[in-house]
Assembly symmetry: C2
Homo-oligomer: 224 residues x 2
């Protein structure tokens, strides 16, 4: 029982989801957790701000160790519980190199996605430009094509090859977010195959964003 761990999270946030997937993969059950609503602005509540002064989710703590950055929490958990649950860093140098490269590229994919989906939310009305949103969409399209190419050339069913790894922990939630936001499966078939092959994995299914189960998918990315 992981009673000495606390996770504050929001539904549908890829960074939160990553930490939850690792907790499942490492068999860390029974941690303290609390769901906050982004829509209601609860990520700026005092309870979150106390743990994470940027007012962002996840906020994660193990004993007195604060690990609010999703990559930090995932690396830390894998390092502290290496022999528990599934090993998330492959031994083979080639696969390990690929894991590191792709997991950090996932940041870029996530950022470019946010630049399109949250454009109106992040940019005040007086500063919005159709030309900027159009450029963001073109940038995201190029990025997704890059990932479709990666999946075409992949040496196994997972991002880094034959083993589920931290690369999948980082990449999968961002890919799921694309499809949740209306990305066309037929246009990016290899990425869709990856998405469909992993969505029923136990750690992922168990931690699936509850708000996604309750409401229909959106169509913000249908033209991408």
């Amino acid at each position: 029982m992981a009673k000495e761990m606390t996770l504050l999270w929001g539904s549908g946030s890829p960074p939160c989801w990553r930490v939850m997937i690792v907790l499942e993969e490492k068999n860390l059950k029974g941690y303290n957790q609390k769901l906050f609503s982004f829509e209601k602005g609860e990520h700026k509540s005092s309870q979150v701000m106390e743990m994470n002064p940027r007012g962002q989710l996840p906020a994660f703590k193990h004993n007195n160790h604060v690990l609010n950055e999703s990559y930090a929490a995932c690396f830390y958990l894998e390092s502290q519980y290496q022999s528990q649950g599934n090993k998330l860093i492959p031994e083979c140098p080639a696969e390990k190199a690929m894991m590191y490269q792709r997991m950090f590229e996932a940041n870029t994919l996530g950022q470019k996605t946010v630049d399109v989906i949250y454009y109106n939310w992040r940019v005040p009305e007086a500063e919005r430009h159709d030309s900027a949103l159009k450029r963001n969409k073109e940038t995201l399209t190029a990025e997704i094509k890059l990932w479709e190419g990666y999946m075409q050339k992949a040496s196994g069913p997972f991002v880094a090859g034959k083993n589920f790894s931290l690369a999948d922990v980082m990449v999968f939630p961002s890919v799921a977010y694309l499809y949740r936001s209306g990305l066309c499966e037929e246009r990016y078939p290899k990425l869709a195959a990856y998405y469909n092959s992993l969505k029923d994995r136990s750690s992922i299914k168990t931690s699936w964003p509850p708000t996604w189960l309750e409401s229909p998918a959106q169509d913000l990315l249908k033209d991408i």
Copy 2:
């Protein structure tokens, strides 16, 4: 001799500098390297694009393993050469947790710096707003204050505590970039003390951006 490694880099880029610091710390000498000019747009040259399809520097390769993301290259090198040169991941769980947390927060510091310094370069003229640049400056100021507070409370001379670690590899170049861009040392004395205590460390001094030695510092951040 690290002849099987190739680094394409640009002077003054924190991501490039990180990889160079780790190569020094791990005693990996004699790697193939080539300096490209951002000003001349050489990061979009075919030689870079072949290794890094996003046209970004660094582009780094060990044998056939491509590691273009600076965090990926640094993690990989530390993992492959654990017992060579300086150990960059501490054993102590508390220090390790702090290392992971701060190293990924460095991304946020870097992004907020770029949002101010490169505002005019990244945003087409017709889309620029004084209100946006003002907001970016306020956001960067709050971020730097957070880091000044971290350094006040630090349990040692380094970002994660008593040992130089991957957190310093990620954070130092971003902090140096702030001072290079005119941040006032007196206004953020703990951050300045950290900067001044590390700038003569051998791995850092050896890899200091050559263009910074040739031209005077800028004053873009003098009001921050």
